[in-house]
Symmetry: C2
Subunit: 122 residues, 2 copies
């Protein structure tokens, strides 16, 4: 499995807490799949793999800078999925459609205005 890195890493990134992040936006898409019928469901069962694939392609198409879209194992918020978390901002989303993906990419990663209506409840 490979992951895309649209825009490349932040230039001259320095390591350590408080330093400029290596990726300005490090996006993790849960692709955990539980057995059919599991009470919690799972992000993959709700289509997250397809949305992850779309997000990688779309981020490149949009030319999103210093972002990386990554696959992740279970983020443990299964009932609310498909779950996406964007670090270092620590913003969690439910991303159900390709339109939702577009909104996270353009509103949060490009314009710096995270779409609150897509965020997970506390």
């Amino acid at each position: 499995m490979t992951d895309t890195m649209p825009g490349g890493p932040a230039a001259s990134a320095e390591e350590g807490a408080g330093a400029k992040p290596y990726f300005a936006f490090h996006v993790f898409v849960c692709t955990n799949r539980r057995p059919d019928g599991h009470a919690r469901g799972s992000c993959a069962a709700r289509g997250s793999e397809r949305l992850r694939d779309y997000m990688k392609v779309r981020a490149k198409e949009l030319g999103v800078a210093s972002a990386r879209i990554n696959t992740a194992g279970c983020l443990d918020r299964c009932e609310l999925g498909p779950c996406v978390v964007v670090y270092p901002q620590g913003v969690w989303y439910r991303v159900q459609t390709t339109d939702d993906v577009d909104r996270v990419l353009t509103e949060h990663l490009q314009r710096g205005r995270p779409p609150s209506d897509l965020m997970l409840p506390p």
Copy 2:
């Protein structure tokens, strides 16, 4: 694939940038595996899957609070692996041994002093 959540989520976490993070320490361990002989190598080829498994168990044993240890796809720093990144602090590590895992857990996640000698170069 399931991931463990030692200590449970941060209490009364609020969503959105600047809010208290859902996990005080969200750890992503790259388990990407490239074909044998690939020029970049890969974290899995350097033993990251075993170290990820150990980290999950060890975090529970140590009672690390509000942390989650997650599997991740390729973090694109393959040559420096096995790679681990801890968010929201955004600290990157090369974790080669179970002793390294213990140091990240105890020094960074428990004592708040990230071990600089394990950090990735810029």
